[in-house]
């Protein structure tokens, strides 16, 4: 745009001065327009920044307060709190929308301000534009040589910068995904990895004394009773406890034994549901918890299931319906990837109440459930891998049934009876299941359909446990009856190699650590026996507290749950 020049009849110099004057006026107008629009734009930017800070700084603080109130109301429902939450929630939303609207409108104002500034500033520059006045020629020859040298130097510097960046990047830590991640100390479910009762630790202590506290690193009181076994993930030990009124999950510090947090699982049974009255032998918290390393899951005899993260925050909770179990519900939880597996056997077989339920571990909803032609049982499912495919193995009366992780039945064998409590194991390519007091059955798990006649490899009917699950090193399998009879059989054909009466009662299942069996009696005496073809007792350590739960073995430490306390046994170094 060119300024209009006032026409004047006067020729020559007067005309020029009028033109200069007019141009100057236009320049002044453009200049001050630019200044005003720049100041206006800066003010708008200031308001936008304040608005942004309010969104980023003040809103999160209030949102956090709202979250805390929401957490508080889970434990302490209160009408005043409800009103407070609603008010705060509404306030946050209204403010958020108001700020968004403000931001949107202000950005238009800013755009307008900047447009005026750019136009005015450009006009001002145009009015002050000076005609080109080329200076005397520099020494072109020298100049072009200098420029060529400088250009090469700049590019060489660029190369050096690339080299420096290489040095910087080369020192950054690299993650090699093809490497197996180092397995940290875990005992994530009942009887550890795979539910086999086997620990990779070898430096497990074999000498402690509960009366002198020798070898006992710490001992912590467990608030509520429970027969479930401790599970361990890294530096955290988890347990659950419950009575008729409360259901709790506990997280202990593995190093100090300090109770880090306790989480309450609410009673979510539908109104009017009959209260559950489990037997004394099981109680309200017999099932062992399970963890995937990020969250922990617990189920109780009331059918209430709770999920907590590692900081103790409730992720979800639900009720599966009161289980109809003669002695009280006691099956421990298992996991397959994101599925939380619940063997929910109850009532009589003809009641058709039993089912295997797979819950979404992160959200708690049912992914699938499969009806089971089985009455109430007390065994826990295990997940095994056969020919690169996973199977969920379950036991009940009379069937051992394997399921695909999608819930479809793969095979079943009719070989059990009575009140089945010992859980199955998988060793030497065979699934072992126990009919209490009667027999141990070995089944090949590669069949389909009813494999009773085709895949039962052998069956030993020379006595069997009624509660404790077996343990095996792949060559030998060890059975421990409640009244203390330890039996060793050969895996390949079930031939009995030896048996020994330990003259104690046992509820905890045996564990295998290296070539040693660890057997925890009801009176808290740990029998350490050589896992060999001949019986040999290596040590016997007393805890001086009754024990029903199976111990956990992690990183050279043993975590034992007594009826009242949780113990950590290990060496200080």
């Amino acid at each position: 745009m060119k300024p209009r020049v006032a026409e004047s009849p006067a020729p020559g110099r007067n005309n020029d001065s009028v033109e200069v004057k007019t141009t100057n006026q236009w320049y002044q107008t453009a200049f001050w327009s630019a200044v005003v629009s720049a100041v206006f734009s800066l003010i708008v930017v200031g308001f936008l920044m304040v608005n942004y800070l309010q969104i980023k700084v003040f809103d999160p603080v209030r949102a956090e307060r709202l979250e805390l109130l929401k957490l508080k109301i889970i434990d302490h429902p209160d009408d005043v709190l409800f009103v407070q939450i609603r008010k705060l929630d509404l306030q946050i939303r209204q403010d958020r929308i108001r700020r968004q609207n403000f931001s949107y409108r202000a950005s238009f104002l800013l755009l307008g301000g900047l447009a005026v500034f750019v136009i005015s500033a450009k006009l001002a520059v145009t009015f002050k534009k000076k005609p080109p006045r080329p200076q005397p020629y520099p020494d072109r020859q020298k100049e072009q040589i200098r420029q060529a040298i400088q250009a090469r130097s700049t590019i060489t510097v660029g190369l050096a910068v690339l080299g420096a960046a290489v040095l910087f990047f080369a020192t950054r830590p690299v993650v090699d995904f093809s490497e197996e991640p180092p397995q940290k100390g875990v005992w994530p479910r009942f009887r550890g990895l795979g539910g086999l009762g086997i620990s990779a630790s070898t430096n497990v202590p074999d000498n402690w004394n509960g009366s002198t506290n020798e070898g006992i690193l710490w001992k912590s009181k467990v608030p509520l009773p429970g027969h479930n076994s401790p599970i361990v993930w890294g530096d955290r030990v988890f347990l659950s406890g419950a009575d008729a009124n409360e259901r709790q999950v506990y997280c202990f510090d593995a190093l100090s034994g300090k109770l880090l947090w306790r989480g309450n699982v609410p009673n979510l049974a539908p109104a009017g549901a009959e209260p559950v009255e489990p037997g004394e032998s099981t109680g309200f918290a017999a099932p062992t918890m399970v963890t995937d390393g990020r969250r922990v899951y617990a189920i109780f005899a009331t059918g209430d299931v709770g999920c907590f993260d590692f900081s103790g925050k409730t992720v979800w909770a639900r009720n599966l319906g009161s289980p109809d179990s003669a002695y009280g519900y006691a099956s421990s939880l298992a996991m397959y990837r994101d599925l939380l597996l619940v063997q929910y056997d109850q009532g009589a077989a003809e009641d058709e109440k039993s089912k295997l339920i797979a819950l979404n571990a992160f959200l708690g909803h049912t992914v699938w459930e499969t009806r089971r032609p089985i009455p109430n049982s007390w065994t826990s499912p295990i997940v095994i891998e056969v020919s690169s495919r996973h199977q969920i193995i379950t036991c009940g009366d009379p069937w051992v049934i394997a399921y695909d992780p999608n819930g479809a039945e793969l095979w079943r064998a009719d070989c059990l009876g009575a009140d089945v409590a010992p859980s199955p194991i998988y060793a030497g390519g065979l699934v072992f299941a126990i009919e209490p007091y009667t027999k141990l059955v070995a089944i090949k798990p590669d069949g389909r359909g009813d494999v009773t006649k085709t895949h039962i490899v052998w069956s030993n009917e020379e006595g069997a446990p009624d509660i404790c699950s077996p343990v095996s090193n792949g060559e030998l399998i060890f059975l421990l009856t409640t009244d203390g009879l330890l039996i060793c059989l050969q895996v390949t054909d079930g031939t009995k190699l030896w048996e020994e009466d330990l003259k104690e009662d046992f509820f905890a299942s045996p564990s295998l650590i290296g070539d040693r069996l660890y057997l925890l009696s009801q009176k808290g005496v740990m029998f350490i026996i050589e896992a060999a073809t001949e019986y040999k007792e290596l040590a016997r350590c007393e805890l001086r507290e009754d024990c029903h739960a199976s111990p956990a073995f992690v990183d050279g430490r043993i975590y034992i749950r007594g009826t009242k306390n949780l113990y950590c046994i290990g060496n200080l170094d």
């Binding site: 999160p60 929401k70 590019i155 660029g158 290489v166 995904f177 991640p181 900081s311 990837r337």
Partner: protein, 450 residues
């Protein structure tokens, strides 16, 4: 004057670097931000007692296909008009008017998308990923400016590209960037192009779009980092003509090479150059080449030897740069969401991180095998490594060719527009006295006609 210019340039590039670094959060920070993203998301209210049910979200109708064709037609028309205005009409004012239109249409109206610069990535991805179908309009936006450049020079940059237009408009006090510095800074554009192709080919990210500094202005919203980055570019652009176009634009790299081959291109004078030197400082983009003096014989001999040495060093430089960039492949592979997720899962699995992020929680919720994720991430890492070797080789080649270019002694007798660097803005036209003669002749012809 020169010192003042250097100070301005230093401040300007410091600001750009600050802007870029502020928009590229470090890896641990990005995880933190990722975790925060879940927290910041505004949760729906709890209507426990009132029983109110939240309405299910509705999806807005996608833009009708016809508009894609409209965009393509507008682009074709704008390119044709720009070429006419630059080469035939030779009117700076008309070019400026068209660029303002392009800024409003392709920038503010079409929200800066599709743009020819970002289209590079779609085209690359469609080549490397058979499952990716590149939209027709993207192909048009990628190819049309290239074709026009091949025939008419960089008329796309002159008046059609909204990114160029917005920078052109804010240029108020141009400061000349020394040619040696300009040559060095232009390496960024080559590196950016190479990285953009690498990330697009491996499906990692569309970094040109992610770090488009002006998209926030076009959409009147965006992250603070990108707003700051764009603001820095515009602030720098007040003094340095089109900093993004000259030193960062990856599409500009391709256009530069095609423009060298263009059949018709901008000439400062419509007639013979009279070497009046009036146009010498008229180009704010340093795209006017001045006549050279005679090279001294001694320098000529030296440059011959240097040229021979550089030609010998060419393969070594390519290999060295390829190796150098390949060492950064692990870091670069983390741009890929799968590798980032695997990295996070690995941290959680090894107990180095206990909290889950939204992404890792979603992964755990799928129940997928971690080993499968790791295998996928390893494959991507291998692909990125190969890509890094190629990228490094490309950069080595560019550096070597630039060094060779500065060792070759060329002779120029006229003032002429740089074939590659000229953005065809038309600023130089009015400085040429021959242009004024032409315009007067035109006026006269019109007067005579009347």
């Amino acid at each position: 004057m020169i010192r003042f210019g250097y100070i301005i340039i230093s401040i300007a590039f410091f600001l750009i670097v600050c802007g870029i670094t502020s928009s590229v959060p470090a890896a641990p920070m990005s995880r933190q931000l990722q975790a925060q993203a879940g927290v910041e998301r505004f949760p729906p209210p709890d209507f426990v007692e009132s029983g109110y049910e939240l309405p299910s979200p509705t999806t807005p109708h996608p833009r009708q296909n016809i508009y894609e064709y409209v965009d393509a037609v507008v682009l074709l028309a704008a390119l044709g008009l720009a070429s006419y205005l630059v080469l035939k009409k030779r009117s700076r004012r008309a070019i400026l008017t068209l660029s303002v239109f392009s800024l409003f249409y392709f920038g503010f109206w079409r929200k800066g998308c599709v743009c020819s610069i970002g289209a590079i990535q779609n085209i690359v991805l469609s080549i490397f990923d058979r499952d990716y179908a590149v939209p027709f309009v993207v192909v048009v936006f990628f190819l049309l400016p290239l074709v026009f450049t091949l025939f008419f020079g960089r008329t796309f940059c002159a008046a059609v590209c909204p990114l160029g237009a917005v920078q052109d408009l804010v240029l108020l006090r141009p400061v000349a960037v020394p040619s040696w510095l300009e040559s060095g800074l232009r390496l960024f554009a080559y590196a950016y192009l190479g990285a953009a192709v690498l990330f697009a080919a491996t499906g990692s990210a569309f970094i040109i779009c992610r770090y488009d500094p002006f998209i926030s202005f076009f959409r009147l919203s965006g992250s603070l980092n990108i707003l700051v980055l764009g603001g820095c570019f515009l602030l720098v652009g007040v003094f340095i003509g089109r900093p993004y176009c000259r030193f960062f634009c990856p599409y500009g790299v391709i256009l530069r090479q095609l423009s060298r081959l263009s059949k018709w291109r901008v000439s400062i004078t419509p007639d013979d150059c009279i070497k009046c030197r009036l146009c010498e400082d008229s180009c704010p983009f340093g795209a006017i080449k001045v006549p050279t003096a005679e090279w001294p014989a001694r320098d000529y001999d030296k440059s011959k030897k240097r040229l021979a040495l550089l030609l010998l060093l060419l393969p070594i430089l390519i290999l060295a740069c390829a190796w150098a960039v390949s060492t950064a492949s692990d870091l670069m592979s983390r741009t890929h969401p799968t590798v980032r997720l695997a990295d996070r899962i690995h941290l959680e699995e090894t107990g180095k991180e206990e909290e889950t992020t939204d992404a890792s929680a979603a992964f755990w919720a799928t129940g997928k095998d971690v080993r499968e994720l790791y295998a996928e991430a390893s494959n991507i890492q291998a692909a990125v490594k190969t890509g890094c070797w190629l990228l490094g080789g490309f950069l080595g080649l560019v550096i070597a060719l630039k060094l060779i270019g500065h060792s070759v002694r060329r002779t120029r007798i006229d003032y002429e527009a740089d074939r590659a660097g000229c953005l065809a803005c038309g600023r130089c036209f009015e400085y040429c006295p021959r242009e004024h003669v032409r315009l007067n002749k035109d006026k006269q012809a019109v007067g005579d006609g009347e």
